[in-house]
């Protein structure tokens, strides 16, 4: 056996403790709701896209630490994180290009009042919310992807058990 396989196995499936698994299983949905709250309330309280995205990513990392890494990969494989990377950036650039098509400059959210039923000042607020959602999705996917890469050391490794 390769000498690094034994160490990697110890890292990926450390122990199976009932207390830790139960507490984390109860807490993780609340952490995700808190992350969505921080993204959505970026307008009126401290928060925004980056902060909420990191909290969402941290909830998946908690799942990986308390359970097995294979449980996490069953819920969110590396191919899905690749899709989420690009989805966030497409939302961000897409809003910019929509503003360009509607007759303004790139990322000029005031032009969004032509398709949304609000006045130009409120349209800027809607545009800000849209790009915060895009940034939150990208940051969440990158946090999860970097952690899964470093912890599992390659996708072609195969099953450990």
């Amino acid at each position: 056996m390769h000498p690094l396989d034994r160490e990697a196995e110890a890292v990926i499936s450390p122990f199976n403790d009932v207390i830790i698994q139960t507490v984390c299983r109860i807490l993780i949905p609340f952490i995700q709701i808190y992350g969505l709250y921080v993204i959505a309330h970026g307008h009126i309280s401290p928060g925004g896209g980056f902060q909420g995205g990191v909290i969402l990513g941290a909830s998946f990392i908690l799942l990986c630490l308390s359970y097995d890494i294979h449980e996490t990969k069953k819920r969110l494989s590396q191919k899905s994180t690749l899709i989420f990377f690009s989805l966030g950036l497409i939302i961000y650039s897409g809003i910019g290009i929509i503003c360009l098509v509607l007759g303004g400059k790139y990322l000029d959210y005031g032009q969004l009042h032509k398709i949304l039923p609000v006045n130009p000042v409120e349209a800027r607020s809607m545009g800000i919310f849209g790009i915060e959602v895009g940034v939150g999705i990208t940051v969440m996917a990158v946090m999860i992807s970097i952690f899964l890469d470093l912890a599992s050391e390659g996708e072609q490794k195969g099953e450990l058990e």
């Binding site: 000498p3 690094l4 009126i44 309280s45 401290p46 980056f50 940051v139 970097i146 890469d149 470093l150 050391e153």
Partner: protein, 134 residues
């Protein structure tokens, strides 16, 4: 003359001790980057260095007696007058959000590189790696 000199020195210390604290943190990180031999310790030193720079920038935007940069709007009341001296400067906070994201990105890529180095040389000490490369 002595009392004036000592009052001036106390004023300098009160006005600038925050910069000296950040310089101390910066020098701790700098020493870890150049004085230690383990690669992971150098990486942690880089992280401490970047954190001290972020703290330094945010401290340049503070104002005495001002509140956080969020306008309190009570629904139903008329809007109050907003003066620039009541709120702290939001621009360094914005720039440092970018800096934190860059910090996390470089840390992630550096750890991936360290993983590859360990796989090839079976060690993470700088002098042993240099010896194995010869």
């Amino acid at each position: 003359m002595n009392k004036k000199e000592s009052l001036n020195r106390v004023e300098i210390i009160i006005g600038k001790y925050n910069y000296w604290a950040y310089i101390l943190l910066m020098m701790i990180g700098f020493y870890a980057m150049i004085g230690k031999k383990n690669l992971v310790k150098k990486l942690i030193g880089m992280n401490i260095f970047q954190t001290s720079i972020i703290l330094y920038f945010i401290s340049t935007g503070s104002k005495k007696g001002a509140t956080i940069p969020i306008v309190e709007q009570v629904p139903g009341e008329a809007a109050r007058a907003i003066e620039a001296i009541q709120y702290i400067n939001p621009v360094p906070h914005v720039l440092m959000l970018t800096a934190i994201v860059v910090m996390v990105s470089t840390f992630g890529v550096a750890l991936a590189l360290l993983l590859m180095i360990y796989r090839k040389y079976q060690t993470l000490e700088e002098d042993e790696i240099l010896r194995l490369r010869k």
